[in-house]
Each structure stands twice: as C-alpha cells, then as structure tokens.
C-alpha cells in the first residue's frame, strides 16, 4: 500500500481513512504520519484580558470565536466544540483526529508536454519572460494585466517553465465556474500531465496532481503540498475579505514554496517581490471607457415597477442592433423585482451557466445580473450597463472588471459601457480615470 500517495500533502480526517487502527498506529510510530485533534482550545495566559479559551481549527486555521459552536457530542460522549468555518468540507471538532504526512514527499512522476497551440503578442511574451526570471530567482511575482490581456495564456508560459524545473503547481481560483472554464484549456495545453480539478462536489483523487486547479476553499485540505501556488484574480472575493484564506494558501505551500498572483485590479494589501504590468489587451485596442448617465430616481421607479426611460431606451437600442448585453444590479432584490421578462442570474441561480451560454449563442438578447458576472466571462460584441453604479458594492475594482467584459474580441474591440447613477462616487471616478490612464500608456 503506497502510504505516501495516500497521505502526502493533505490533512485528512481519521474517519475518512479506511485503514485499521493498528496500521495507523504503526505509521505514527514510524514517524510517517502525525495525528492531532481537529480543534484545540488555547487557554489565555494569566495576564490576558480574556477569561474563556480561544479555539483554533487545525484544518482551516480559523480562530474566529463566532465560527465555533459547542454541543454534547454523541461520538465522544462529552461537550465538544466544532469549527463552523470549514464545515462544508466535513465537520472538524475537538474529538476529530486529523492525520498529516510527515514522511518524504514524492517527486513528479510524469513528463509533461507543452502542447498549447496559440502564439504570444509582444506584450504577452515580455510578461512571460519577466515571470520566468522571477521563478528562477525564487521570487513572488504579480502579473498586473488588464481584462482581456490574455492572462491565462501568460500563465501557461510560466507554468511550462516551472514544469521544466520539476515543480508541483497549484492554481487557486475564486469560483468553481472559473475552474470549469480553465480545466479543458489546461488539458489541451499540457498533455501527459496529471491535472486535478478540485471544487465543492468534485471527486477528490488519491495523491497529488502535477498541476492542481482548486477553489481557495479546497486549499484548506492541503499541507506543505505545493512548490508554487498561483492565485488567479488575487483581488477577488473571498481573498480580500477572509484572512484565513491567506493563511490557507501559505499552509498549502512547501516550506520553500512561492506564491504568484494574477489580477487586473490588484489591491494595496497584496504582497509580492516583482511585478509585470500589461496595460494593453492582446488585440492591442484600447479598453472601452465607461460613460456616466444620470438616473436620479431609479430606485423609486423600480419600486413602482416602472423602468426609467433612459434605461429602457438603452435596452431597446441593444435589442434592435442585435448586440448582446448585460445589465448589472447592486442587489439580488433589485434584480428579481425588475419588471419585464428578460432572463436574470445571480450567484445561487441554478441555470446560470445555461443562460450565459444562451447569451453567447445569441438565443437571448440580454441578461440581468448581479456582480457574479463581473469577471471571467467572454462574449463577443457585449454591451454593458450598470444600474446604481454609485452603490457601495461597485468598488473601483468591480467597475473596472465589469467594463473589462466589453470589447474582448479582436473583431469587436469596442462597446458601450454605461454607468447609470444617482451621483458620481469616488470609486466610479477612480475606475474611469484608471482605464483612461492605462489607455494612455
């Protein structure tokens, strides 16, 4: 039985391992695995202001007191605390026994071939070369490339180089749809290479892949598994909001591992050694600049089930000229209460992928959406409107990403980006200025 393949790089619940107790005990004695409780209680020191213990989950590293709950547990026959933060991956409690591999790590077995068929623009080639230099120096690198610059292809170039250095790589994405979109592209670009895709509900294969595509949540399962973690969309939810995810990425890296990041809208809190800036899209055309349109009474009109005329006219114009369009709303409630029978999607909508495909194929004229579609999707000749652009949810990053949905195709490099608002905010202003600045470079 190949214990190394079974255990290495992962944190596993004893209950999910179908090996007898004596075999586990033997492995512990041979110093190949170490067993430790799932949740520990850290009693405060005598000098601390706190009276009650703080809990820490040994899988996701969370210490947020709000995310722990206690109850009389039938399994261990006493009151036992469990972690609510990483509950979706299986319950981890004080009585849970977690197992971690302590033995040597395997080296990559397959010999991957780079079979990507495309070619790089000058800018993309420069980005790949700069990234390769950082890789060779063991430095952490940020690729700051605008929407539609071809970031995924740049990532292929860097990964190809890392594979020649025999590195085990993980690519962390904020959402499952991004993983599902990337998987076939990776399979085509890297043959003879084990590529694992992990997301909620996916199969969890034995051992470690050479390339692992995972949602950041899935990274909680890993411990000192990867040489390199590339964080895609490094500024996106949930990284920025959730500190434990930063810790999770660090924990999944080997001790000498490196984190790289890709983003079109990097925020100040990202830490890296070297940076590549790519202000041009791969087709060299400038980014579409958003325009403002006053829609001062939209909230009241929508409450009375009336679409404000400026918005209705914009939608009609897109339908008449046969241009697919997206209308972004600040809340699910406003989205659902919008009159008319245009299809709508939001994060929890089960038909989301289908509707996006319908829009792409021209079967529906347009789609109403929340910020869930602000990143990642590519539709030719798309036109975009944002209703309520002054609302807090539309940060500078969100607005830049939304504007980035337009003009991605080489034969349709322009399009309308309109912010319907009740007053121009600082975020709207900064978004517009940044796009103009990038176009001037």
């Amino acid at each position: 039985m190949n214990y190394q393949a079974y255990f290495e790089g992962k944190i596993q619940d004893r209950k999910t391992i179908h090996l007898p107790d004596n075999e586990i005990q033997q492995l512990v004695e041979q110093d190949l695995i170490v067993s430790y409780p799932g949740v520990i209680a850290i009693t405060p020191s005598r000098f601390s202001m706190l009276k009650s213990p703080i809990f820490q989950c040994m899988r996701c590293q969370s210490t947020d007191p709000k995310m722990f709950a206690i109850h009389y547990c039938l399994y261990c026959a006493k009151n036992c605390t469990y972690c609510r933060h990483c509950l979706s991956m299986g319950k981890v409690a004080q009585c849970t026994q977690l197992l971690k591999w302590k033995g040597t790590l395997s080296s990559i077995q397959d010999t991957p071939l780079f079979t990507w068929q495309g070619s790089y623009s000058t800018d993309q080639r420069r980005a790949v070369d700069e990234w390769i230099v950082s890789c060779n120096q063991g430095k952490s690198h940020l690729v700051n490339a605008v929407c539609g610059a071809g970031k995924t292809e740049i990532m292929f170039g860097a990964i190809q180089h890392l594979l020649t250095l025999n590195k085990r790589i993980a690519v962390a994405c904020p959402r499952t749809d991004v993983i599902l979109e990337l998987e076939p592209r990776f399979q085509d670009a890297f043959t003879n290479c084990r590529i694992d895709s992990l997301y909620g509900g996916s199969e969890k294969p034995l051992g470690l892949g050479t390339i692992t595509l995972a949602t950041t949540h899935q990274l909680y399962r890993f411990h000192e598994a990867f040489d390199v973690v590339i964080i895609d969309e490094a500024d996106a939810f949930p990284y920025s909001a959730d500190q434990t995810l930063v810790k999770a990425v660090k924990k999944s890296l080997k001790s000498d591992g490196v984190i790289h990041m890709i983003s079109a809208t990097p925020t100040k809190n990202l830490l890296f050694d070297t940076e590549t800036v790519l202000p041009r899209r791969f087709h060299q055309h400038p980014l579409p600049v958003p325009r403002y349109e006053k829609l001062l009474t939209y909230e009241k009109s929508l409450k009375n089930k009336k679409i404000p005329p400026k918005l209705a006219n914009w939608i009609s114009k897109q339908i008449e000229s046969n241009c697919p369009f997206l209308v972004f709303f600040p809340s699910v409630r406003m989205l659902e209460e919008f009159p008319g029978d245009l299809k709508r999607v939001h994060a929890e909508h089960p038909m989301r992928k289908n509707y996006v495909q319908l829009l792409r194929n021209g079967k529906i004229p347009g789609l109403l959406t929340t910020t869930i579609l602000e990143r990642g999707i590519t539709i030719r000749n798309l036109q975009v409107a944002v209703v309520g652009a002054e609302q807090a949810i539309f940060t500078k990053e969100a607005l830049i990403q939304i504007a980035g949905r337009v003009g991605r195709a080489a034969d349709a490099p322009t399009g309308d980006v309109v912010f319907f608002h009740r007053g121009v905010t600082e975020e709207m202003h900064r978004a517009k200025k940044e796009i103009e600045k990038l176009n001037a470079l």
Binding site: K15, K66, A69, H71, Y72, C73, L74, Y75, Y82, R84, L87, S88, G90, K91, A93
Partner: protein, 203 residues
C-alpha cells in the same frame, strides 16, 4: 449579531429586541427565504391499515423549499448544531416527544437533530428507534407493522396526550408508525408537529 445562515452582521430594532435584549437568529433576508405555511396535511396512504387514525392531527410549519433543503443539508448532513437555534423559537411550550434517531452510535450522527431544537426541560423521551428493515411481507399493512422501528421505552404511566415532533413530513410513515406504538401503549391523543412538509422524496 451574525446571521447563522449567511454570516452577515445585522441588528434588529424592534420592541421585542429592546425589551428582551434578544436578537433573532437569522437576518431578514434569510428569514424571508423560508415559507411559513402551517399546513395540516392528510395522507390517505394509511387507510385500511392498522396505522389508520393513529395520528389524531398533524401540523407542518414550513414548506420544504430550496432554502429548507439547504438548511437541512447543513444542519443534519454536515452536522451544524448551531443551526438548531434557527427554528427553536417555534417550540416554546411543550411537552414534546421527539422522534428519536437510531440508538447505536455512528460517526456521522453526532447529535439528535430533532431533540436539539426542543427545549430540554419540556422534552419527553418515550420512544427509541431500532433496526427494523423487514420488507418481505406481501401486503402494505403487514409491511407497515413489521418495519416499524419504534419501541416504547417509558416505564411511567403513559400521558393522555402527546406531541410527536419530527423534522420532515413526506409520506407520513414515520409519524404514523410512532403514533401507532404510542396508542398501543396507552396514549389517547397523538398530535404530530413537523418542521417542514414535502411531497417529494427527500435526498
């Protein structure tokens, strides 16, 4: 106060909150996702069987919609005990008799999910659940009786009226089988109380 379901922070301003100092367990958006129906379902499935008329009345509080399905997945399947506070405010009086879980320990069942949302002081343990998968009988009546997993465990004289509490009401078999055992052991009136009602087979 953090919503137990979506985690957002909220603060409700109401007379109740002011006077009692208590906040509701979920935020308003999550609260609105559930559909409170207070239905009284009747199932004709048990007519002509010994289980007919064992259950004198049954009330289901909520519809088993998409949100209720997610709630039960997180509460029962993932084992999030903290979610017992989401609906416990419906069960303040009592005495209640919860439908028990299978008596033997299993690594996945770390707490009795029906009992967890009932107030401890007004909970009566009158039943236990054993393994009873005898499906080889020919008629529906025979199957319903032989596959009854409930046993009476109380040694006290039986109460005149009991409220059986369960989580999901689908075919009604669970409540009817439990009511049958109760009536056999001297209870005169058995009323059923369920959190959610569904016609679909639950996953």
């Amino acid at each position: 106060m953090n919503c137990l379901l979506c985690g957002t922070t909220y603060h409700e301003i109401s007379w109740y909150a002011l006077v009692t100092g208590k906040q509701p367990p979920t935020c308003k958006d999550c609260h609105l996702k559930f559909n409170y129906i207070e239905s009284t379902p009747s199932r004709t499935y048990f007519q002509g069987t010994p289980l007919e008329d064992c259950l004198d009345s049954v009330t289901c509080l909520y519809e088993y919609n998409e949100w209720m399905k997610d709630y039960f997945h997180q509460y029962k399947r993932l084992g999030d005990h903290a979610l017992s506070r989401v609906f416990s405010h419906h069960f303040t009086r009592g005495p209640y008799t919860p439908i028990p879980i299978y008596h033997a320990t299993s690594p996945s069942k770390t707490f009795p999910h029906v009992e967890a949302f009932l107030p401890k002081k007004s909970t009566q343990h009158l039943l236990m659940k054993v393994d009873a998968t005898n499906q080889s009988q020919r008629t529906l009546s025979e199957r319903l009786v032989s596959s009854n997993p409930f046993r009476w465990i109380s040694t006290e004289p039986p109460p005149k009226e009991i409220y059986l509490v369960d989580d999901i009401y689908t075919t009604g078999t669970t409540l009817h089988q439990a009511a049958y055992i109760a009536k056999q052991n001297g209870v005169q009136i058995v009323r059923g109380l369920c959190l959610a009602e569904t016609f679909l087979k639950k996953e």
